[in-house]
Every structure is written in structure tokens, then in C-alpha cells.
Symmetry: D2
Subunit: 384 residues, 4 copies
């Protein structure tokens, strides 16, 4: 027995019609060409896969079914009757002894799709990733539970979003504004520092924005950009252990470590850094407590007694005030503060801020259409 399930479109079924007419086929043929509902549509309609598009009259399903029937095939009146037609033809052949029925094999169960099986509770799959800061599964992404549209509607600023994604809570506006000030102060420091330099070299090698940015970011670490985090760590440790400025500074000296956050190339006791003064003023006006910053100022008083340029610099001001933000806001437990300082969130702040500058340098070099950089031979000491 030959079972044929055809489709409107194409002319393959007519070969079968020919073969039947010419008596080349001896087995009974049960056939159905689907797609006759195409008649219901005004114009051509696409069914199923590419190619099965209804064409002229001759290719229509009805025409094909008609031709097959006329050539001697068993053609049911509808698709629903197809199964019965097959069974009847089969039974007839068996009855006539033309075929020997074999016992039915139980087909293997089709495995269930994982997602369905999980939903129905039949299967549990361990998750390999845990994430707590944002969720993108719903209508719109949420940052720490706050939907994006709320963020716009409430007039949040960039500092607020940093607060949600890094600290998982909405810090008061005076805190998020302080975070923004830090970002702005650290956004760039000219083209000569390691980060900007590498970004410039990569941009001039004709590379894309991300590669240029990244090549510069990779220089950020202990020696470039690391002083803010270090300042926070050392000031916190010294203050929390109750060290006097003298004990702190001399202890660092004994260990051979420069006090981070102290010292400036040109600023001095009588030529204070305006940025530091503005930061301190902001904190005095808005922060409930500035105990860490005041400790840093005491340290500065002691170091100024040693040398005139050992002033509290921007790194030290940011580092100490960040401690005051964490501890004064009352929104963090002690272990949380320790964890934040330990992980090094200020490093994140510096990295984010400096990305603004590094992206700017990339755009700058591209605008200037600068060619491939090659460091001058004369500036290199080739030795053994």
C-alpha cells in the first residue's frame, strides 16, 4: 500500500497520476492533498513551508485530489477521513491475504520539553547562576526591584541608579549627589596618564570604541586610580582601631607605605586644593556626620608639620568622605560597610568615572583622524 500526503502547489502529484494511469503501480494508493481551504481566501495564501504556495487552478489541492481519484487512488472526502481510508485499505489487503500484519510496536514516548517538565513540577533543574541586582524577565527591567519607568517618572539621576545597582537600596539624594560629584571629579585627568595614553594608542591603531576603552581601563589598578580605595581602607582601619594621627602616619612609615590620599605635586598648606575644599563644604552642609573626614584632616595637620605639600588631596577627601557616607547614612550595617570597603566599591566608582574620559579620548582621536602611534626609538633605552 502506498500512502500519499500531498500539498497544494507544485506538480509532483501529477507524476503519480500518470503512473497510475499507465498501470505502472500495482499496490493500492491512498492519497490526500491538503490545503483545500485555500479556496476560502481571496488571493494567494502561504501555507506551511516555503514553496507550498498555492498557484494556478491545476496546482490547487482540489484539482489534485480529483485527478488522483480519477486515476484510481483511494481519496477520502476530507483530511479527517484519511486515517479511516488508510485503515480500511489495510484491512482489505490483510483480508485478501496480500499482506501479513505484524504486531504493533509501542512507540517510545516522546520526551517532554524541559521547560514544560519544569513548569509541571516533574523535573527540577539546578540553576548555575545566582543574581540579585536586576531582573529583566517582566514587562520592563527592574533595578533592585524598581522598574525603569519609575526611575524616569521620579526624576532619578545617574547616582540613584548606581545606588540601586551597586548598593541594592535607594540612598538619600545627598548621597547619590555626592556619588555624582565623585564621578565628575574622576572623569578625566588629561591624555598623559596610563589609561588615556593606552586608549589613545589603541584608537590610533584604528580599533573600535570598546577595544580602545578597554585597553585603557586595564591600566587601572594599584598605581593608577588605586589611591582612593587605599585611602578609604587605611583611614578606616586607623580610625576604627583608634590610632592617633601620629601613630597612624609613623606606623605607615615603618611599614614603608606612603599614606594614600596625602600629598600633592603643587598644592600646599597655603595653596589649598579648591576641589578638596568644595567636597568638604558639601559634606559639612549635607552629611549627618563627617568623622572620617575630620580624622583625615587631623592626619593632614600632622603630615603638614613634616612637609608643606603633604596636604589632603582629592583621593583622600573622596576616600574618607565615602566612609562617612556609608556609616553616617544609617543605611548599612557594620558588616556591610566592611564588605563594601573590602570589595573595593570606590575602585568601581573610579573605573566608571574614568570611562567617560577614555571614551572621550577615543572620540577625540577619531575626530582628529590620528594615524598609528609608534613610540619613538629615541625614547627607549635598549639594553641587556
Amino acid at each position: 500500500m502506498i500512502v500519499v500526503l500531498g500539498e497544494l502547489g507544485g506538480r509532483d502529484e501529477y507524476s503519480l497520476v500518470e503512473a497510475l494511469k499507465e498501470g505502472k503501480i500495482h499496490k493500492p494508493v491512498v492519497a490526500w492533498v491538503s490545503g483545500t481551504c485555500a479556496r476560502l481566501f481571496k488571493s494567494e495564501v502561504q501555507f506551511g513551508h516555503a514553496g507550498a504556495k498555492s498557484g494556478g487552478e491545476l496546482e490547487s489541492a482540489q484539482a489534485k485530489n480529483q485527478a488522483l481519484k480519477e486515476a484510481g487512488a483511494v481519496v477520502p472526502t476530507s483530511y479527517e477521513a484519511f486515517e479511516t481510508a488508510i485503515k480500511e485499505t489495510f484491512d482489505k489487503l490483510a483480508e485478501e491475504g496480500k499482506i501479513t500484519p505484524v504486531p504493533d510496536i509501542k512507540p517510545p514516548a516522546i520526551p517532554e520539553d524541559l521547560s514544560i517538565a519544569i513548569k509541571s513540577g516533574k523535573v527540577r533543574a539546578p540553576t548555575h547562576i545566582i543574581s540579585t541586582i536586576s531582573d529583566d524577565r517582566g514587562d520592563e527591567p527592574c533595578y533592585a526591584g524598581v522598574p525603569m519607568s519609575t526611575i524616569i517618572e521620579r526624576g532619578f539621576n545617574v547616582g540613584d541608579v548606581i545606588s540601586l545597582l551597586w548598593f541594592k537600596r535607594s540612598l538619600p539624594r545627598y548621597c547619590t549627589q555626592f556619588i555624582e560629584i565623585c564621578v565628575m571629579l574622576c572623569a578625566d585627568h588629561g591624555p598623559c596618564v596610563s589609561g588615556a595614553h593606552n586608549t589613545i594608542v589603541t584608537a590610533r591603531a584604528g580599533k573600535d570604541l570598546v577595544s580602545s576603552l578597554v585597553s585603557g581601563l586595564l591600566t587601572i589598578g594599584p598605581r593608577f586610580g588605586g589611591a582612593i580605595d587605599d585611602a578609604a581602607r587605611y583611614f578606616k582601619d586607623a580610625y576604627d582601631r583608634g590610632l592617633s594621627p601620629y601613630e597612624f602616619v609613623e606606623g605607615m612609615k615603618r611599614k614603608g607605605i606612603r599614606v594614600p590620599g596625602i600629598g600633592h605635586r603643587i598644592k600646599s598648606r597655603d595653596n589649598r586644593d579648591k576641589r578638596v575644599q568644595l567636597l568638604q563644604q558639601y559634606a559639612h552642609n549635607h552629611f549627618p556626620s563627617v568623622k572620617y573626614m575630620e580624622y583625615a584632616v587631623q592626619v593632614e595637620n600632622y603630615t603638614l608639620s613634616k612637609a608643606n605639600n603633604l596636604v589632603l588631596n582629592v583621593d583622600g577627601a573622596i576616600g574618607s568622605l565615602f566612609l562617612d557616607l556609608l556609616s553616617g547614612s544609617g543605611m548599612f550595617t557594620k558588616p556591610e560597610i566592611d564588605e563594601i570597603v573590602d570589595i573595593g566599591y570606590l575602585n568601581g566608582l573610579f573605573v566608571l568615572a574614568r570611562s567617560i574620559g577614555l571614551i572621550g579620548h577615543t572620540f577625540d582621536q577619531k575626530r582628529l583622524k590620528q594615524p598609528l602611534y609608534r613610540h619613538p626609538w629615541e625614547d627607549v633605552l635598549y639594553t641587556k
Copy 2:
């Protein structure tokens, strides 16, 4: 009813004993302290989680069970009898009308573990990753089907492994040796080129090896290291389209594109590049066909008629010979060769090779204990 399942170690159960003795507990207590098999061991043995370590006699499970029993708790003779003891106590309380039994709830079926469900064919999970070059699931990883130990036993070299992992086939030794020669020739080009320079700057920022290497790698692209791939692409296109050297060179000129692989700072017709000559010699001795390289030489002949230093350089020699390797080896179909040239395998070769140099520069700067690099202000034109 209070059910207690204790553990040897610790003294918590004795508080219960006290409370029972003092009559503070009115409900029946069914208790069992596990871990009595500890007696079977010579010395202290660790059971379960941290802290549950058998200590002195008093803390042993037996002592505790004894004390609980004496204080009036129902203590079975073994853990196996614990369930029965609970049931009996419960039934007794129900009988006495002290508690009202609630009908049993059928606990939900515990979902099957995903890995078991997949193995038993109940669930099918789509894979999200396809990979064809190596397999790490067996006893030892295989590269394109070849186990690692075979690679050592057969005396494979680095070129052979590149062949397996990049081309998924074992190329003849003359090919893999040629690949090695290319790697060696491209391994370094001094400290002044973009890649080495950025690596040096990052190493001097005190960053780790990977960051230093990566910061340099990111400069590799169209202007730095890209000439080899470009040479292969343009030579292939020109040769396959049957362009004469004149047509090729003049066509490039019209499009404003420099012919890659041609031209050298100091080398010229009468002062040939020894490396190019050695590469050509190697190919003449080992390659079954050098038609692409010969085409490159014809191009060189034409460009030399225009300027004395427009010689075939190392990039051009490698680029054209790589085409001869692919097409002459007979191990690649035409579409495969097109795909390899299109994807840019030679870029991979350059990147891998130069990594040797960039890693070397990182080690060099670390050995030399070089401080943070800052580009000199005097070398920068600050403008608008």
C-alpha cells in the same frame, strides 16, 4: 509531643534533661541521639557537619540517650526504632484524647533531577552551545579527536596542535613547520610598536600578566598586524580573478589602497630581506605548488619598476605562501579555503605569535621593576 533528634558532641541535650527533671516540660518527649557507632572506632571520628565531633564521655551519644531516658523521655533502643516510638507516643496521645489527629496530606512528588530525567529519556533539553574542535569529557582531552597523550607520544609540535584545533585536521609536517616559522617570525618586533607599548604601559601600572598582554593585543587590527591577512586576501582575489600584476597594482591605486605585503622602510631591490628569501626557499623545497607566491613575486617585479623599495616584504611572503599551503596541500576544498581567508586565520597566527612577545615584554618590565609610566607633557600638543 516533642521529637528530638540529637547528635553526639555538644551539650545541648543536657539542657533538655535538666528541664525534664525540673518538670518544666509537660508534653511527652521522644528522643534519640545518633552517633553511637562512634564507640566502634579507636579514636575520634568526624560525623556529619563541623562541630559534631565526638568529645569526652559525657558528650557521647550513649551518655546522652541514657540521661534523656533517665529524665523520662521515650528513648528507643536504636535509630531504626525511632519512628515506631514516635508513632506509638502519638497514637497514645490520640487515644487519650490529648490531641486530635488531622488527616494525612499527600506530600507533593519530589521532582526528578534533570540529569536523571534526561538519561531515562523522559525529558529533552535543547543545548545552547555547539562546539567541534575539542572534547574534554573523557579520560583526557582530545584535540579534533586526537587524545593529548597521543600528541606527546607521536612527537607532535606546536604547529601540529594549531593544525588540529584551528583546521580540525592533521596537516603534513611541512605545513605545520611552516606555521611554526610564521609564529617565530611574528613573535616580536621591539618595544615601540603599539602592542608592545601598551603592554609595557600596563605592566608598569603594576597590573597582572593577563591585563598587560590583553591591553597590547587590543591594538592588533587593521593598522597593526593586519597586513598579512590583507596581503593574503588581495593576492588571492587578484590571482583567482586572473588579474595581471599591472591590472592588480593599478586597480588598487585607483581605489586608493596601498598594496599590502609590498614595501619596506630600508630593504630594496639590491638589499633584499633575508627573511623573505628564507621563506621562499623553504617553500620551494617543501611546497608542492607556490603559484600564489610566484604571483606575489610578479607583483613585486612590477612595483619595483616604480620604486626601489617596493619589495615583497615578510607580510606579503607569509600571506601568499599561506594561500599556497591551503591550496597546494590538497586537504581543503575551495569553499573551505574561501572561508579560512574570509574569517582571517592569519590574523589568529599573528595574534598568537605576538602574544609570545607581549608576554616577554611584561616579564621584562617586571624584572626591571619599572615604575608607573606617564607620557611626557612636552610630547603632547594640547589644542582645541
Copy 3:
């Protein structure tokens, strides 16, 4: 003649004293041990390099000078007299005919230091770097000419700093606030997208913040994050060429390019994206012109006639409104706008914004102390 210039500390000079006493030295010795001013200090004082620390009496400079004199060396009374003592001894030897004086050689002039030579105008050195966005040479860094302290004093926000460093001008507040809104909307999109995923994997490999961030940033490109820039480019091109929405959309279809900025997984005509609505509302309230956005809405109207979910999405809204910002603000010339769109500033905006999220994911994984990620074997189709 032997000339000896010793140092207090150490006992080397006493070997010479012994040799002189034993008559092993036949040439005249002129000697001076410096550091006798050590006597003036109360305690030990460090002179010169490590090791030259005044020790006991025997090692003091005075003692050594005394011993040398007693052993027969010519020892002057002070360091100032050392030169004369050498000259006298030399002249005496010459007079006695023991040595033959050679004519004086004129020492080569010491080259001038580069910085001094440049300042005095004797030498000009070409600069190898050009930079126009910021200057760090003065008291405090300037962004596009604006000193950092001014940025704080005037209450600038992050958008203003982006404006200065990327566009080299102070855009009006409605523009910089729009930039901030875009940054906030693009800051994160959950842990499953390529960028966050790679960052999470790297953080779980125990790597530092920068490496983790960078590993994620590198996935940003044509397929991830690229739609905003593409939307701006295609909308600009279509609008500027005066294409009707029909011509634009059908033209894209013919080229086989999906219209970027159109289409959403779940949003539709009757379930609009609130974020898009808020962006449009903001622009309507603040922008002098929204012609590009209106064009995008016309395109949306056309695509909605084809399928219900072909709505203008956030990418399309940001892309088209960014064009309105550039062209409506009146602060950019036409070639400047073309350059900005060509370079791809919106890509910079996405990269900066998403850095907030990627840094957040790094902190998240570190807080969660997640172990090394290994992709499950079951999720990989190993094939040939």
C-alpha cells in the same frame, strides 16, 4: 700614586693601613676619609648610601685618617685640602722623574638637558600626541576648558561632564538631562545578556573588577547593544534622503536588513512600552524639534500595519531622539552631526551606561562569593 677617598663606617681602610705598615705598598698614598663632621651630631647619623653609617670609635672617619697618617699616607687636614695634597704629591713624583706627565685632555662638553634646551628655544621637539578634550597641566584639570572646581560650584551633573568631554561644549540642561536618562535606561538588562554573563563568569573566576567589567564590555558590538546606533544611522539616512516610511521599510526588507529600533518581544500596539512613552513625552516637553522622532513614529505606524509587535522600542526612541538633540539644539553644524553619527557616539553612551550594570554584577557575585563557573556539559552539542 694611589688616591683613596674613604668613608666613615666599615673597616676597609684598615687593610690599607696594614699593607702600608708591612711595606707592601711602594707608591705614595694620598688619602682622606670623609664624614668627620659626624662628631658634631649627638647620635649616629646616616651619610651617603646604605652601609655608610657611623659605627664605633674605630670606624669613625677621624680614627681612620689618623691611622692612615701614622702608617705613612699623605692625609690632608680637611677635604678641601685633598686636591692640593694630590697635586703636590703628583708634582713631586714628576719632579723626581718617577712619572712622566701626559698632556691634559679637554673633557667633552656635558650635553644640555632636553627640557632646558627646549625652554631656551635651542631645540624643537615634535609632539607625537594631539589632544583636545582636557588639560591636566595647571592647578586643576579642565574639561573642555572648564576647571573641575567650576563644575562642582555650578552644580553640573554627569550629563554635563559627558557633554564637555565628548562634545567639547556645554549643551543646555535639557540635553544633558536627556543624556542622563539614556544612561539610566541602558544601565542594565539583567544577568542573562552576553555582557553581564561574561562579567559574571570572570568575576566568578576570582578576577579583579576591571578584568570582570572588561570581559563583559567586549561583547558589546553589532549584535549586543548595537541597535541604538544603527537606529540613529538608518533613521537619519532615511529621513535626510526624504524616504517615505514605506520606501524605507520596504527598501530595508529588500536588502535583508531588519529595521533597527522596531520590534519587541512582548510589547505591541495595545500594550505600549512605557519607557518609550516617557522618552517621547520628555522630548515633547523640552526639545525644540522632534522631527526625527516623528519620522520614527511614522515608520512605526507603517510596521504596525504589518505585525502587531513591530512597535518603536527603546533603542529606536533613543536613536531617533538623539538625532533631534543634535539637530534641534542648534549647537552642531551639519558636518559635525554627520561625524558624530559616523563615529558612533551612541555606542559610547551604551558602553558607559552598561558599565554601571557590569560593575554592579561584579560586586554582586563577589558579595555572593560564587565559585568558578563551568558551563554544564549537558548544554553543549559536541559534534564534528
Copy 4:
């Protein structure tokens, strides 16, 4: 006096001719149009900057000079005579009292070019970079003093080049072959490890080869790939301090550190790792001393007494044998070996080796045309 120096091409000089003819100019005009040698060439020739291209007769220099002369300008017969003509006209005007000569100002000396000033020894510029491993200033680059062509001629292999660029010396072949074996063994470990996974994700984001490679490399660190270096460090420390395997292993346990280089997922005492055996065999056959490896084996003997799978693994074998290479070759001093182990050269070896695999995975994904990867939501635990 008006002095005019014109150029062939353009028609600007004719405006002057007109003005002279119309008597609009009262001052004497001294003029010369350069470029008359254009007559000597057959066709058009380009002189000077863009635009100055000789056109028709009228624009030729000769025609212009002729026209100026006819209009009354002083036109010399050659460019050489231009200066005299200016001087004569000036003197004449001064004589006639029409102008009052001002005393000559001595023009400032033109500063010398830096490179010339340095060569002549007048100026010394400090170098900002030191480099010792390679030199690209000559005919061909040298690796540690060995020219590239020598490297090919002598049949060096990749291990030899690593030796030159990392160790700055030619190690014996048995050493460089061992380095190659290590590179081959570490080249890949399937698609599931962090490095390959991130590379695959980045390649599927449609990013370039370097970005894909780099995104994977950045996961290499303490948890992924770090065991080899750690094994070398701990084995060296323990052996050099004379610790017995018992003291070493138990000391590590007390510090809570797993012994690196020991332990395998499936390998055990009775199912040894073939790779380890082949490495050991190679070393026994070629190394003059294998004391560190023998120590590692003693450690293994001790750990095997604790658990059956605590075998020496590939990391441990490479780590300990690398120590034997350094100390047994007799080519390194003790401080040099300490420095090499301290800097972490084995990390470099792993990074280089794995780059082969990561590049291979990038090619693989590009060949397979894999779409953007998105981690499945179902695999993430979203929590707080």
C-alpha cells in the same frame, strides 16, 4: 611696495594685472610666478600642493609673468633674481623718500631639530622606556640578540623563541622541547571552562577575533589556570625549606589551602594519568636532575594514603618539572630562579598555550555561524 610670489595654475594673478592696468594700485609691484620649468615636461606635472597643477596656456607661469610685466610690475628674469629685484625697488623707494627704512631685526635662530641635536651631542634627552628582550632598529629584528633570519636558518622551534624572549638566553633543546610539550598540553580543555566559554559568547556576539580571545583570557587567574604556577611555588617552597611530604601536606591543611597539583576528578592510584607518566618519562630521559618532580611524587605517595584520587595531576607534573628545568639546566642563578617563580612565568606559558584553544574556539563559532548567546532564564536564580 607689494611683493607677489605666484604659482602656475589658477587665475588669481590676472586680477592683479587688471588692477594694475586700471591704475587702482599706486605702490610699486614686484612679482614672480614660479613654475616655469613646467615647460620642460611633456605633459602636465604636479608641483607643490594640491591645486597648483599647470593647466592651459593662460594659466602657465610664463604667461602670468608676461602679463604682469606688461601691466607695469617689476618682474625679474628668474626666481634667483627675485630677491635683487625686491631690494632694488626697496632702495629706490627709500632714496625717493617714499619710505623710511627701519633698522633690521635679527631674526631668532631657528631651533635645531631634536634628533640632530641629540646626534651631535648637544642635548641629552632622558629615555622613558627601558627594554631588554628585542631590538627592531636594525635590518631585521633580533630576539635577545639573535637575528630573525638566524632563527630560521638554524631550525629553531617555537620553544626556542620563547626561551629567547622570556629567558633572554638559548636554553638547550631538551628544555625548549619540554616548553613546547607544556604548551601543547595546555592548549585547550574543551568549550565548558570559563575561558573558552567567554570566548564563545563574545564570538557569538559577532565580535572580532581579538575581542573574543581577550574576553576569554581575562578569566585566567587564581581559579582557572592558576594551579600550575601555584604548584611550582608551593613545591619549591616546601622542598627548599626541607619539609617532609607529611609536614608540607599537613601544614597546607592547617592553613586551609588545597595542595595545588594534587587530585583528579577520575584518575586514581590504579588509573594513572597517561599525560603525567609521559611527562615524567620525558624528564627521566632528558633532564639532568628531577629532584623537584621526585619530591612531588613523594607528596603524591603521602596524599594517596589519604584518598585514592589524590594523584599528582598534569598541573603538578608541569609545575614541579619546570622547577627541575630551571635548576637542573645550570643556566640560571638562584636569584634568577626565585624571580622567575615569583613573577609567574608558568602563568605566561598557560596563557600562551590556551590562546591557541581560544583562537580555535573563535574560528569554530564563526564557521558554525552561531547567533548571539543569551543565557537561559531558567538557569538563573533571581533572588535578593
